[in-house]
């Protein structure tokens, strides 16, 4: 028996509609169950490279260091010597939730300065590391230590 002209082929007629519906459902599901996060945490003010350059071993006294940099974050007694710590840190967090999986990355970098004084409270040694400008918003599979990224971020920090 031949089909009549008015017979409706359900399979063929539903195919584009099914695709559209599936697409809409997929988009709806993805958008309703996804989320993202960007956050930045700063602990203490970043250290000033210009201030650190003024330190002079054998000359600068503990009082002058405190006048220049403020109160230290930590003081350590090393026998007759003492050491002061100054530090600051910046952490950048990025997160992405897609349905049942959450990707999260946290990159923390610090500025650190240790100043060592002899028993006469005169600066004998100091060491500094300035990297609080380097953290990145990234996803877990990204390399946050690439040399090119660091060169770029170093160029944007005055005094380095």
């Amino acid at each position: 028996m031949e089909p009549r002209p008015c017979d409706f082929n359900m399979k063929e007629a539903n195919s584009p509609m099914k695709k559209t519906l599936s697409g809409l459902l997929a988009i709806l599901t993805l958008t309703s169950l996804s989320g993202c996060l960007l956050d930045r945490t700063l602990v203490n003010e970043p250290l000033s490279p210009e201030s650190i350059q003024q330190l002079s071993p054998g000359k600068t006294t503990a009082k002058e260091v405190v006048d220049l940099l403020g109160a230290p974050n930590d003081v350590v007694q090393l026998g007759k010597r003492t050491a002061y710590r100054y530090d600051s840190s910046v952490a950048k967090q990025a997160g992405l939730t897609l349905l049942v999986i959450t990707f999260f990355n946290e990159d923390t970098r610090t500025d650190r300065l240790w100043v060592f004084f002899d028993e006469g409270e005169v600066l004998s040694h100091y060491g500094s590391t300035l990297s609080s400008h380097r953290p990145q918003y990234a996803l877990p599979w990204e390399d946050v230590h690439s040399a090119s990224d660091q060169t770029e971020s170093d160029a944007n920090r005055p005094g380095l």
């Binding site: 459902l25 350590v76 990159d107 946050v144």
Partner: protein, 144 residues
């Protein structure tokens, strides 16, 4: 069409907060120190000035033996994969859950030891909990 709806409903159920969760976390803290950064330092020859110039400021400084000093550098580059599955069997049993995480944090780092003249005596590299000396004195603290 029924299959599609079933898949969507199942997916929504799994994705709801109490069913299944997967986590991929990556945490970095400062930058790992390459061996080449301090390979030129020599025990018995290099001093604190050389070490600070090569490695920058340490993360912590402690006294060590008689008038000596220990300085440590640390970093972290850790990936954590996690899985949580939970279900609430209403009126049948208390909520059941299972989770897995490989997130025991161990800090890699290096510790440098100096004698009373601040001459380098030893460099240790590894996990900080393992390489700190047992006789390392703790800083005095206030007793309340």
């Amino acid at each position: 069409m029924k299959n599609l709806l079933f898949c969507v409903v199942l997916f929504m159920m799994l994705a709801s907060s109490s069913c299944v969760r997967l986590r991929w976390y990556h945490e970095t803290f400062d930058q790992p120190i390459a061996l080449s950064t301090y390979s030129h330092l020599r025990e018995g020859q290099s001093n604190l000035t050389d070490c600070l110039a090569a490695l920058g400021a340490p993360h912590w400084v402690r006294d060590y033996r008689e008038e000596g000093v220990a300085v440590a550098y640390a970093w972290l580059d850790k990936t954590t994969l996690g899985f949580t599955a939970s279900a609430n069997f209403f009126r049948l049993a208390p909520a059941a859950s299972f989770s897995f995480d490989n997130d025991d944090i161990e800090w890699p780092g290096i510790v440098l030891f100096f004698d009373s003249d601040l001459t380098l005596t030893e460099i240790r590299r590894g996990m900080l909990d393992d390489i700190r000396l047992p006789n390392e004195r703790k800083r005095p603290s206030l007793v309340e």
